[in-house]
């Protein structure tokens, strides 16, 4: 238990919650079982999260690309989101979660999808085209240092290190 950011009780609790997601016959060897994405998304902590699909995708080490998670993936996820993870790790994973097309940079399309996730699903909760343009322009002005129209990992970590709310909002506690 000294190997993650989680304490012993937190790991045990995570194990309990993970095994609850498995059907009864697989519960004994929960260590090596994989839970499909649809079951993971029933967790209350992820249910209301607009980034739920991205989180599963980023932390899943599944070779099939079906975003299923093993217990280690689950523990990794909780460890990164725990209170005691360093901000370096958190910002690294945040970048990967926000990178919707997995190309290593946050370009305009990624930012647009990010803002739409934030404001909610549904037509009336989206920003208008002009507002979105203005917002993305402002974001790039604040964070894009090399003026290439995208935010890469270093720029993202740089801008997030100045942000006062990041550490307290990028947190999941079971």
């Amino acid at each position: 238990q000294e190997l993650t950011f989680l304490s012993k009780q937190e790991i045990l609790l995570a194990y309990k919650r993970f095994s609850e997601l498995l059907p009864k016959e697989q519960r004994e060897n929960a260590c090596s079982a994989r839970v499909p994405k649809s079951r993971i998304l029933t967790l209350p902590e992820l249910r209301a999260n607009p980034f739920q699909h991205r989180i599963c995708h980023v932390f899943s080490t599944s070779d099939d690309g079906d975003d299923s998670m093993s217990f280690e993936d689950f523990l990794d996820m909780l460890s990164v989101f725990s209170d005691s993870a360093t901000s370096d790790i958190k910002s690294h994973y945040a970048f990967r979660i926000f990178d919707f097309d997995d190309d290593g940079t946050l370009d305009r399309k990624d930012l647009e999808k990010l803002v739409n996730c934030l404001t909610g699903q549904g037509e009336e909760s989206r920003l208008s085209g002009a507002e979105m343009e203005q917002l993305i322009q402002n974001i790039l002005e604040e964070s894009d240092i090399d003026k290439d129209g995208t935010i890469n990992m270093s720029e993202f970590q740089h801008v997030v290190s100045r942000s006062p709310d990041f550490a307290s909002s990028f947190k999941i506690v079971l």
Binding site: L3, T4, E45, G104, I139, I145, E155, S163
Partner: protein, 704 residues
């Protein structure tokens, strides 16, 4: 992998952003031990690492050793490898750490930890005693912090009124009652007869002895006359001058006056203390000029949210915040682009609308004045002839005030659309106008009451100083008016909830015609509700001098209102479409409450110091004004103390004192102005520095 290799092309220009000293410092500060909860330590006090970090270390080691091909490792082997490597890491860290921790520091750290633990437990226990803790917490979870701040404000008022009641009861009512009934071997001395005109001292409250109709009881309960008039609820009951408990003497008039000052001072200090905390928070939050968009977008979503309702609220508030910020930016641009002709047009329109606002206000004030005059003149004429008409006339001022409080804000929010302000300023200005209307209405009511009371045409009346025919005991009259206002306010809140909110909910749920659905459920309008309870509290403050048990009634009233509002919120309200930032701040509520309190000082000051106290009833029968009891008591002090007190009250002391206070105030204002200028200069410098940094980075990458 944790740290993928940087791509060659795009990342190289800013690859050394992480090497910048400022970035390293910020990172070190975030991850430093004791700096928040980052970097938790195990029982040896060392930082713990993630599995992935260790895994990376391991895989790198294995790659270097060339022993095992990189790939998934079996569970036990990994654990063994990890464990053995971790022992090495731990040993190094432990050795490094104990060098710097002497015995004293270790003991200090241990004792700090245990002290923190004890404090936390005490805090937890004391939070169980907090009133309605669970209710407010659940409201916050379902409806957001704006509405929760309304309910905690309501709780604060309940506590404040309760303390005021305890104060007045223990120092004024309790000694009166126990000395009147001779408990604890106490006796009392009635006020010695003064050489005042005999006609001023005639006061016969009916008391309603004998056979009376049932509805007279109801009328008395609702308007404070008859049966209630002679109880300790009103000023007229307290006729004792001194009470003797054994050898201790208790000067009741002095106690009455000092208790009044005490509750005003207590409210003042408590409100200021609470608002200072809110003010600091406000000031700090307003200062996030830098990177506000990035902060809102990248760190906007709170990953702790588990409830779908809370998630919906958060989505809405994020959308609203982003839209408001963008709109304010657009508006600033528009204002900067205005031509001279447009500016003239806007300013003249604003002046015209302000004139309309003043006209509306004058209309309200005039109607309140006439209603009060009419009510006072006619309520003493009509006897029990027509119960309903009498009650209506009695309650006429309350009705007119409530109508004015309802209509004026609607007019204001309609007018402000034409004035073309930024949204935040619009909200503030409308709120300020509504606050002014509500509090000024009370002022006009009191002014009209006083003009009635002090209206003297005959010589006999002038000898008493007040209109003794209509108001033999004018303080009780004022107390009754305040009592009626409180009761009516409470009944209106009940009636609106029962007869407007619930039927609306029923209509919307069961009737599917388009008009009804478009009208929809009501939203919980925070600012209107807050102004309502501040209005009630101002009345309570003014009325407590004339009716010492009024805080008890106010406590019960707010207690019941909490549950009414909570039920109405849960069952009939839909969540706010636009979470309002400005008016839901705690600091704003307390500021308006403070304005109400300061407004309450004025009529109380005039009643205590200027208007002659009634000679027919009350503890101040033998004094000219209520304030006179204080100089009277001072005359009984030893001469040395008297001289000191006279010196403090004289001009020779007051003027220099006032000048010194002004100097201190100017000093602090200058200091604040200087700080603001320094902050602006630092900001400008920061912008220049960041531009320099970008320039240098670009130059370096060109040179590479």
């Amino acid at each position: 992998e944790v740290f993928p290799p940087e791509e060659a092309g795009a990342a190289a220009p800013v690859g050394f952003l992480q090497q910048l000293p400022s970035y390293q410092t910020a990172l070190r500060r975030r991850n430093a031990p004791g700096a928040g909860t980052q970097g938790r330590r195990n029982r040896w006090g060392q930082l713990v690492c993630t599995t992935q970090t260790v895994r990376t270390v391991l895989s790198l080691q294995r790659l270097q050793a060339g022993s095992v091909a990189p790939g998934p490792v079996a569970c036990c082997e990994k654990v063994f490898l990890v464990f053995s490597n971790y022992i090495l890491i731990l040993r190094d860290l432990q050795q490094a750490d104990t060098k710097y921790l002497s015995g004293w520091k270790q003991w200090k750290r241990a004792s700090n930890k245990s002290l923190k633990k004890v404090l936390n437990e005490v805090k937890e226990l004391s939070s169980y005693l907090e009133l309605w803790r669970h209710d407010i917490h659940s409201i916050e979870g379902k409806f957001g912090t704006g509405i929760q701040s309304y309910f905690s404000f309501l709780r604060f008022l309940v506590l404040l009124n309760f303390i005021m009641f305890i104060l007045m009861f223990s120092f004024v009512t309790f000694p009166s009652i126990i000395s009147k009934y001779g408990i604890f071997n106490s006796t009392f001395a009635k006020i010695p007869p003064q050489n005042t005109e005999p006609h001023c001292t005639v006061y016969t409250p009916s008391g309603n002895k004998g056979l009376i109709y049932f509805y007279t009881y109801l009328k008395d309960l609702l308007s404070g006359t008859g049966l209630l008039e002679v109880t300790s609820l009103f000023y007229g009951y307290y006729t004792i001058h001194t009470a003797w408990f054994g050898i201790l003497s208790y000067n009741l008039p002095l106690a009455y006056l000092l208790a009044t000052f005490a509750y005003l001072a207590l409210s003042f200090i408590w409100i200021i203390k609470r608002s200072v905390e809110g003010f600091k928070q406000n000031l700090v939050h307003d200062e996030d000029q830098f990177q506000s968009y990035c902060n809102k977008v990248f760190a906007g979503w709170d990953f702790c949210i588990t409830d779908p309702n809370a998630a919906r609220l958060k989505h809405r508030s994020l959308q609203y915040e982003l839209q408001t910020d963008l709109e304010e930016e657009r508006l600033k641009q528009k204002i900067a682009d205005r031509t001279v002709k447009e500016k003239l047009r806007i300013y003249s329109l604003r002046i015209f609308i302000n004139i309309i606002v003043i006209a509306v206000l004058s209309g309200c004030f005039y109607s309140i004045y006439t209603a009060t005059v009419f009510s006072q003149e006619n309520s003493s004429d009509i006897s029990n002839v027509n119960f309903q008409a009498n009650l209506l006339v009695q309650y006429l001022p309350s009705i007119v005030i409530t109508l004015a409080n309802f209509i004026a804000p609607q007019i204001f929010s309609f007018l402000i659309r034409f004035e073309d302000y930024s949204p935040a300023f619009e909200i503030r200005l409308t709120l300020m106008r509504c606050v002014f209307v509500r509090l000024a209405n009370i002022g006009v009511l009191l002014f009209s009451l006083w003009s009635q009371i002090s209206y003297c045409s005959t010589d006999e009346c002038k000898a008493c100083g007040y209109n003794y025919k209509l108001y033999p005991c004018w303080e009780t009259e004022v107390g009754q008016e305040m009592y009626k206002l409180t009761i009516f306010d409470f009944m209106i809140i009940l009636a609106v909830t029962l007869f407007v909110d619930f039927p609306r909910k029923l209509l919307v749920t069961h009737c599917s015609c388009k008009l009804v659905q478009w009208y929809g459920l009501q939203e919980f309008r925070i600012s209107d509700n807050v102004l309502e309870i501040i209005y009630g509290q101002t009345i309570c403050w003014i009325g407590t001098f004339f009716s010492p048990l009024l805080p008890a009634i106010a406590t019960i009233k707010y207690f019941i209102i909490f549950y009414i509002k909570k039920i109405s919120l849960i069952h009939t309200c839909k969540p706010a479409a636009r979470p309002v930032r400005v008016s839901s701040s705690n600091f704003f509520f307390l500021l308006v409450l403070l304005i109400g309190l300061v407004l309450a000082f004025v009529p109380l000051g005039i009643s205590i110091a200027h208007i002659p106290s009634s000679k027919a009833c009350g503890p101040f029968k033998s004094f000219n004004t209520s304030w006179e009891v204080v100089p009277d008591t001072i005359l009984g002090f030893p001469t040395g103390l008297q001289q000191v007190l006279h010196g403090i009250a004289s001009e020779a002391f007051a003027v220099p004192f006032f000048v010194v206070i002004c100097l201190v105030m100017f000093y602090f204002m200058a200091l604040a102005g200087a700080h603001k200028r320094v902050v602006e200069q630092l900001r400008e410098q920061l912008v220049l520095e960041s531009r320099d940094k970008l320039f240098l980075i670009r130059k370096i990458t060109e040179a590479q």
